[in-house]
């Protein structure tokens, strides 16, 4: 493996999307996005900027669709869908933590959770547990559990309990991993049994891999 390539990647690696807000990002799209789609996408990104929503996720979505050669109409719809998710995310955050303007990073994280299929009520519930902490890890942990067919409310219960027992940030991802491991144990544990086993372990869930 060429360390030069890795170093080059590290040097050009973008900051987390919440940070990169260079105007409306459309200069990055020129030459990448099909000309037919560029005006509509530019308009969507401008709308997001005017509404003080993060624009980087929309720029990324446009770049992704272009790289995948998505037809122009579906490309535009994909970016538009991203805008709708950002709006919905901010609405949820405003309800969950009233009186504060939600940080852009939190909006991006909630939008990502919605894109993974988490319901608004579950997201809102998890947000209210730790309103001033970055919500990404808890929401991804919940989405992981739901993706593995754990009941959403039970998943949220477990994560709330884990948080109450001192687990924060990426450690909540470990809780989801532990639950899936318990589910896969020989003898065929039910989801409820798996969650109960993890609950009994808290806070001593094995740290490590995502």
């Amino acid at each position: 493996m060429s360390w030069k390539l890795v170093l080059a990647l590290a040097l050009v690696a973008r900051p987390a999307p919440v940070i990169a807000q260079s105007g409306n990002g459309t200069t990055r799209l020129t030459g990448r996005v099909p000309a037919a789609a560029l005006p509509a996408i530019d308009s969507i990104i401008a709308t997001a900027a005017a509404e003080s929503l993060p624009t980087e996720p929309l720029v990324q979505k446009a770049l992704e669709g272009s790289a995948k050669n998505i037809p122009a109409d579906r490309l535009v719809n994909g970016v538009r869908r991203g805008l709708l998710q950002l709006r919905q995310a901010r609405a949820i955050l405003t309800r969950a933590v009233p009186g504060q303007s939600p940080p852009e990073g939190h909006v991006v994280a909630v939008a990502a959770a919605l894109a993974r299929g988490l319901s608004g009520p579950i997201v809102e519930r998890l947000l209210t547990v730790a309103p001033n902490e970055p919500p990404g890890p808890a929401l991804h942990a919940a989405a992981d559990l739901v993706a593995h067919h754990f009941d959403p409310d039970s998943a949220a219960d477990l994560l709330v309990e884990a948080h109450n027992k001192g687990l924060r940030g990426v450690r909540l991802l470990d809780v989801a991993v532990a639950a899936d491991h318990e589910l896969q144990r020989p003898g065929g544990r039910t989801p409820s049994e798996a969650l109960a086993h993890v609950r009994a372990m808290l806070p001593n869930v094995r740290p490590g891999r995502p």
């Binding site: 993706a147 593995h148 065929g188």
Partner: protein, 182 residues
Amino acid sequence: MVNDGAPDMEVVAQVLGGDGEAFGILIRRYEPGLLRFATRMLGNPDAAADAVAESLVRAYRHLAQCRDPGRLRSWLYRITGNRCRSHLARRHTNDISLSDAPPLADGSDTWAVLERSEQVALVERALAALPAEKREAFVLKHVEGMSYEEMATVTGARIPTLKMRVHRAREALLAALEEVVR
């Protein structure tokens, strides 16, 4: 030495006593139902065969942990259900690919005149469109013929939850079937 007709408890005892070949009796006994269940869950016979094979090997390896050999069937279905969920999670969707399914029949046809194969394809398509939990509940209830009590043992869900899933699955399937008749 047990014969093919021996009760599950006797066969399990024989296997745990060191006669691994006796496990073949259990495979022959439960494989058809497990394959049917997995095929309906995953929508793909190859994936279903993999899931069932993995489940049976796992069951053999951990047969001593089957707490009640008299309820072996529930235990095997629970393991297979978990494997199917893992396969679905790895496939990163709860939906079944329908790329190999034949196209839907023209809506002007009536149910009675559709060819048998088209009818089967319609039903399979309607089943595949259900969310995984509802699909599983419907298959266990109506295809595998389980009681709600046994379904609760297999899935770990409460009986009222299972009834709700089955009821919703029936509604979705009937709605899909009635679209053809209109």
